[in-house]
Structure formats: structure tokens, C-alpha cells
């Protein structure tokens, strides 16, 4: 990537900046204006009678990797389509590096590389031809197009398939070409909408590897259903529900908001025989749920673990402890 920022600063100064930015985001609740790459302001959008976005506000920092998670129809894709100037909001505005989607859509489009959920590409083209077409549309200088295509095909591991037609590619290969297409103009912002959806674990892992390579060098928005993906990749995660951001923060920060420090998973033979009132009466128990033969008990202290296990008595088959994950956060927040 020719225009990527050089890595000249020391690790210590990097760490200070990250900590300071994080402090600002989480404690002060907002970023300094020079740190903001994308500012979403009171976005509202309806499709007929369905309100997809309802006064959504969000700020995304320069070089940040923001994850957006939410259930189907929560408004994730609508939000990113509006940022990409594909859809127009009914109300509100989005500022991308100070440019408004209302007045400067062409400028904003040139700053964004967008990978939609489905890697829908022009089937009639060969991979190289497709990248050339989009390079020309993005206005990449003619002299740089071929070298850029070679560089990106190498990055996504598609050099040997460059002259094959798109209609011969599997979904995973199409997604790789889609990533190369989104990066062809070396944009400062990249938006991925469910990039690993429907891919086999190995290909999904490769795609995550590409995203990891770009992390810190570009401002990235990652819409995903996979909590572990958001947890492992994102600097911050925004939870969207019914067209609004209902919570936002680093994965650690969000996880800390889940009831309890630890979750106890107890599998039993006969769940009906367990006296649940005894579990509730223990001081450190915040909440508990039953799923088949398994009890999940959220605790705010580890000291009462043995007391809880005693409640299950001889019915216990297995006992496991687990730290709260983003999935627990999501389920807790959205329910």
C-alpha cells in the first residue's frame, strides 16, 4: 500500500495515543474532532412503514476498527449503505473526514472501499479485468493500475487465478476478489458488511487475516454476526438494535457490563429436581438461566462457587466456568 502511514513512532508513544484515545472515548464519551473520521448525526431512514434507523448517532475515529453487531434487520446494513452514499437518509447527516453525504457524495465515495455482504461481481469479467474496470471508475492513474492489481491479487492470494472468469470462482474466491476490488484505489476507509458470512472456517480465517493486516492502517467498519470475530478484531464494538446504537465501547468494556465477573455452567441429570430458590438466595448470584440440562449462573464473586455446586448435589454431571463474552453482552443488551 503506497499511501499507508509510515510506522515511524515508537511502540510506547503508540500505546500512549491508544490509551489516551480510549480514555477519551470511554470516559469522556466522545472523541476530539480531529480524531473523528466518520461522524453520524441523528440518522433516520424508513423503508415504507418500516423504520430502519431511528436517530442513530455514532463517531468513528481515524485508524479505528469499529465493529457493528446487531440482529437481522437491526439497521447495520442500512447504516453502512448511507455512509457509502448508496442510500439517502430521510433525516440526519454523515460527515466523512468533514465532507457531508448530502453535498459531497462523489468525494466521499472515492474515500471508501466497500465490500457488500454478497460478493456480487460482474460474472462476464476475468478477475484482472474486473479490477481494471473498478480502478478506472475510481480514477486510479493509468500508469499505476496494473502494478496495483498485481499487488492486490498477491495480497488476497489470487495471482494464479487473475485471468480466470469470475463465474468460475467459489464464494470464498469471489470474496477475495471483492476485497481486492474494495482496496483498488487505496481508500482511507474500508467498510466490510458480513465479510465472512457463509464461508468455510478456513476461508473465513483468511479473510479475517486480511482485515487484521489492514487494522491500524485504515479506518475500518466491520458489520458482523459473529461475536468472536468482533471480539478478536475490533477496537470498539457498537451494538445496534431497532435502528439505534444501544451500547458502544471496547469489547472488554462491554463485557465488564454483563452481570457478574464469571459464568458458571452446571450440567445436571435431572433439572426438575433442583431447588432454584436456593440458587437465587446465594448473595453472589446475579442471574441464572436453564437451557435443557444446563444451568448458567452469573456470579459477581468466585467465593460462592462451591456453595452453588452443593445446591445441585448428586445431580451434577459437569461444572465449567466461563468469562463473559461479547455474545453474552449482545444477548443481555438486546433482549
Amino acid at each position: 500500500m503506497s499511501d499507508l502511514p509510515s510506522d515511524s513512532r515508537s511502540e510506547n508513544s503508540d500505546l500512549k495515543i491508544i490509551l489516551l484515545t480510549q480514555y477519551k472515548r470511554e470516559v469522556e464519551g466522545k472523541m476530539a474532532s480531529e480524531d473523528v473520521m466518520i461522524k453520524i448525526d441523528s440518522l433516520t431512514k424508513s423503508f415504507g412503514r418500516i423504520k430502519a434507523l431511528n436517530d442513530l448517532n455514532l463517531e468513528i475515529g481515524r485508524g479505528e476498527l469499529l465493529g457493528i453487531i446487531g440482529s437481522n434487520g437491526a439497521g447495520k446494513t442500512t447504516t453502512i449503505r448511507i455512509i457509502c452514499c448508496i442510500l439517502k437518509p430521510d433525516l440526519g447527516d454523515v460527515l466523512v473526514d468533514g465532507h457531508s453525504i448530502q453535498t459531497d457524495p462523489i468525494k466521499i465515495k472515492s474515500m471508501i472501499g466497500y465490500l457488500p455482504e454478497e460478493p456480487n461481481l460482474y460474472e462476464r469479467f476475468k478477475a484482472r479485468e474486473l479490477l481494471r474496470y473498478f480502478a478506472e471508475l475510481y480514477g486510479v492513474p493509468k500508469g499505476e493500475i496494473e502494478s496495483r492489481i498485481d499487488e492486490l491479487l498477491e495480497l488476497v492470494g489470487m495471482s494464479d487465478r487473475a485471468d480466470d472468469k469470475i463465474n468460475t470462482f467459489s464464494k470464498g474466491l469471489r470474496q477475495r476478489v471483492g476485497i481486492a476490488r474494495a482496496l483498488i484505489h487505496d481508500p482511507p476507509i474500508i467498510i466490510f458488511d458480513e465479510p465472512t458470512m457463509g464461508l468455510d472456517p478456513a476461508t473465513a480465517n483468511t479473510i479475517r487475516g486480511f482485515i487484521r493486516k489492514l487494522k491500524g492502517k485504515k479506518t475500518i467498519i466491520l458489520c458482523t454476526h459473529y461475536m468472536d470475530e468482533a471480539e478478536s478484531l475490533c477496537d470498539r464494538v457498537a451494538i445496534v438494535n431497532k435502528g439505534q446504537i444501544i451500547d458502544i465501547g471496547t469489547p472488554e468494556y462491554l463485557e465488564s457490563k454483563v452481570h457478574g465477573d464469571i459464568i458458571l455452567k452446571v450440567r445436571v441429570n435431572n433439572p426438575q429436581s433442583i431447588d432454584t430458590n436456593k440458587i437465587k438466595s446465594i448473595n453472589s448470584v446475579d442471574a441464572f438461566s436453564i437451557d435443557g440440562n444446563e444451568f448458567s449462573v452469573s456470579l459477581n464473586s468466585r467465593k460462592d462457587i462451591s456453595q452453588i455446586v452443593d445446591v445441585f448435589g448428586e445431580e451434577v454431571v459437569s461444572v465449567n466456568t466461563k468469562e463473559p463474552t461479547l455474545e453474552d453482552v449482545f444477548i443481555n443488551t438486546v433482549k
Binding site: F47, C85, I106, K109, N120, L121, R124
Partner: protein, 421 residues
């Protein structure tokens, strides 16, 4: 949502606004990349090559049909659009005057001269279906204005007797009409034409020369209509293949996309029409002013591609676009052909709103006044502007591209109320 007020419209602020927007867009336009790749992509696709070759075959077939049609017109037999039934049924006739026997249609009946005794035997043997006996003094009876009695014997066991009866009845009617007309004409004053008055003939077929020109014009306008499928694929295909999303995410305007795609279609039509004109010239058709003819056909393609694009932008899928375009093209064909054919009889300047009229006149080497050219160009320009304006307006609407799509009445209301969406 903003609306232009009525006073804005009346004070031409709207027109000025539209013009400024249009000029601004033209200045910043970046449609050439889309045109280049659409053109290149279509040319290299198998689907296009198939359509292209099919169109050439249609042209060659039409040349063959057209040549045999004109040959028939030039021959004394004329041309019959009804299928031949010769050999299907036969009838014996006794007609010394020749009044009936010469007028029975040999394409429908095998007619044999015969007499009563022979024919009765032939009918019994199943060799003929009927026997018509015309009195020997039929002409004298007609001249004396006396009734004529025909005797028709039919073998009703033979289903072909219906055909024989029909033919005898229709021949009787033809003869009766001719006799009546001849009698009426005998009462009319003769030799009415003088130096100052021209006798107007009526009821005769169009002169071959005019049919020739009209047919050639229709043939050359066909490629425009045959390319509807390509235009549809280029626009609706983006929705069907779900590539519209990434195309709209490119740093190009909606006008760039619409103009770029339409221009590629116009270039393909230009290529096809050029080849057709060459083929017609090579196969011996005389086309006067071929370059002007070419220019006017291409000019006609601009609004037609525009309106097809607008319809394709609105269509949800191929099926819907296909139905819409079929209906639309009936109207377009009517708009092209009706004024052109009307011009033959009326010579009205207004008939020049159809480029086909001008092309037909160019074929004949007629000197066309500039005002007539101006009518064609002006109309094509207005129609083009409107169709592309509608296409771009529709393409800017999220609901049209991604749904839920608004109804046509709602869209028309938004367009005529100049609602900014």
C-alpha cells in the same frame, strides 16, 4: 422533501435550475469509463453475439421476403395473402357465356368445363363435389335487367361442398357488384377532366415505389427495437445480479451511470445499423443519402434508448422489464410508422415528427426543407431530454432501486409536482 412552488415554475426558475443542474452535471461527468466497459463487455458476450447474428439473419430473411413480395406486386398475378387451396375441391361448370367460369378462383377450386349428364355421373363417382349450370342466355338476361336463375348441384355427403358453395356465392356477389357498378357508371358524366382539373383515382393499391421506401425505412429502424433486450440487460441486470449496490458506491453520479450505459447501447445500435445499410447496399437496394439516413436513424435511437432505460430503471426484474418493453415498443413502432405512412397521403409537415418520415423521404432523394428537418431534430431532442431526465430521476430514488418500489401514480405525482427526493 422540498417542493418547487407554482410561482417558481411560472417564473421559469425551475427551467433555469434544471439547466444549471444539467450543465453542472455535463461538466463533471465521467460516463466514458462506463460506456467503454459496457460496450466492450457486451461485444465480447456470447449472448450479444447470438442476438447480433440472429438480427443479421432476420435482415437476410427480410431481404428475401421483400424481394419476392415486390416481384409478386410487379407480376400480373398480384399477391394473395390467403393460403392456396388449389386441388382441395373441384367443381364442374356449364357456362357458355364464360361469365362465371372465368371468375371462379382457381386457387380455391379446380374448375372443369362439363355438361349436365357427364357431371351427374362424375358426382356419383365422387370425382367432383358440385355442378354449376349457368343459362346460355345469361348475358342477354342481365342486359334486359331480368333475373338470372343459376342451378347448383352439390354432393352434401362431401364436406368440401361447403367450400364450393362459399366460392359460388362469393363469385355471384362479385359479378353482381360489378354489374351494378357498371350500370351506375353508365349514368355518370364522362370525360370530366380538363386542363385545370386532375382526375383523382381512388381505391387503388399504393404505388410500388412508396411501398419500397416504406419497407426499407422499416427494415432500417428495426435494429433499434431489436436492441431493447440489450438495454434491458444492461440496466435491469444490475438489479438482478445485485451489482447495482457496488456500482452506485463508485465515485460516479447516477447521471454518469445512465448516460454511460445508454451511450454504449447507442454505439451498439450504430454498429448494427451501419452493417445493415452496408448489407442493403451490397444486395442491390438503392439508398440515396446513406450518411444522412444513418444519422437520422441514430438520432431516433437516442430517445428510444432513453425511454427504454427509464423503463428498465423502474422495472423490478427481467420479466417485468420484458413485458414493459414489449408494450412500449408497440407504441414506439406506431409513433415511427404512422406519421411516415400518413405523410404519403397528407404531405403534412407535422408528419416529420417521426424520423422515419425523413428517412423515407431521403430514400427517394427528395429535397427536404430545413424546417422539416428542424421539426424532426427538435422533437427528438425534447423527447430525449425528457426520457433521460426521467431515467436519472428514477435512478436517484432508493425506493426504485432497492425497494419497496413506489407505484407508478405516486412516481408521476412526484415528477409533476417537481418533488426533490
Amino acid at each position: 422533501m422540498k417542493y418547487f412552488s407554482v410561482s417558481d415554475v411560472l417564473e421559469f426558475k425551475l427551467i433555469s435550475n434544471c439547466t444549471q443542474q444539467l450543465l453542472g452535471q455535463v461538466k463533471d461527468m465521467n460516463f466514458t469509463t462506463i460506456t467503454k466497459w459496457e460496450f466492450k463487455g457486451t461485444l465480447s458476450s456470447r449472448k450479444f453475439l447470438m442476438i447480433f447474428l440472429l438480427q443479421i439473419s432476420v435482415l437476410l430473411l427480410m431481404i428475401v421476403v421483400f424481394n419476392s413480395f415486390t416481384a409478386n406486386l410487379e407480376s400480373e398475378n398480384g399477391i394473395s395473402l390467403t393460403p392456396s387451396l388449389s386441388g382441395f375441391a373441384s367443381m364442374d361448370v356449364q357456362d357458355e357465356s364464360g361469365l362465371f367460369i372465368d371468375r371462379l378462383n382457381p386457387e380455391i377450386l379446380d374448375v372443369n368445363r362439363s355438361n349436365y349428364n357427364t357431371s351427374m355421373k362424375r358426382m356419383e363417382a365422387g370425382k367432383t363435389t358440385g355442378f354449376l349450370m349457368v343459362p346460355g342466355d345469361v348475358v342477354a338476361s342481365i342486359n334486359a335487367m331480368e333475373p338470372v336463375n343459376l342451378n347448383l348441384y352439390l354432393d352434401y355427403s362431401d364436406p368440401k361442398s361447403v367450400v364450393v358453395l362459399d366460392e359460388v356465392n362469393s363469385t355471384s356477389k362479385i359479378i353482381s357488384t360489378a354489374i351494378t357498378a357498371s350500370w351506375v357508371n353508365s349514368l355518370s358524366p364522362q370525360n370530366t377532366s380538363t386542363q385545370n382539373f386532375k382526375q383523382q383515382s381512388s381505391g387503388e393499391s399504393l404505388p410500388l415505389q412508396i411501398i419500397n421506401k416504406a419497407m426499407m425505412a422499416i427494415i432500417l429502424f428495426l435494429p433499434i427495437l431489436l436492441f431493447g433486450n440489450i438495454i434491458m440487460d444492461s440496466v435491469v441486470g444490475e438489479k438482478e445480479r445485485k451489482t447495482a449496490e457496488i456500482l452506485i458506491a463508485m465515485p460516479v453520479s447516477h447521471a454518469d451511470i445512465i448516460i454511460g450505459k445508454s451511450l454504449a447501447s447507442i454505439l451498439l445500435i450504430a454498429l448494427q445499423v451501419g452493417i445493415w445499410i452496408l448489407i442493403l447496399l451490397i444486395t442491390g437496394f438503392a439508398i440515396k443519402n446513406p450518411l444522412l439516413v444513418y444519422a437520422f436513424i441514430l438520432m431516433a435511437s437516442v430517445p428510444i434508448v432513453g425511454i427504454t432505460t427509464a423503463l428498465s430503471v423502474y422495472a423490478k426484474n427481467y420479466k417485468e422489464a420484458g413485458i414493459g418493453i414489449s408494450i412500449l415498443y408497440i407504441g414506439v413502432a406506431g409513433f415511427l410508422a404512422v406519421p411516415a405512412l400518413a405523410y404519403i397521403s397528407t404531405r403534412s409537415t407535422f408528419a416529420n415528427i417521426s424520423p422515419m418520415t425523413v428517412v423515407m423521404r431521403l430514400f427517394s432523394g427528395e429535397v427536404i426543407p430545413l424546417t422539416d428537418y428542424a421539426v424532426t431534430v427538435l422533437f427528438a431532442f425534447i423527447f430525449s431530454f425528457l426520457s433521460y431526465w426521467v431515467a436519472v430521476k428514477l435512478s436517484r430514488r432508493d425506493d426504485v432501486v432497492f425497494g419497496p418500489r413506489p407505484g407508478i401514480l405516486r412516481l408521476i405525482w412526484d415528477l409533476i409536482s417537481f418533488k426533490k427526493v
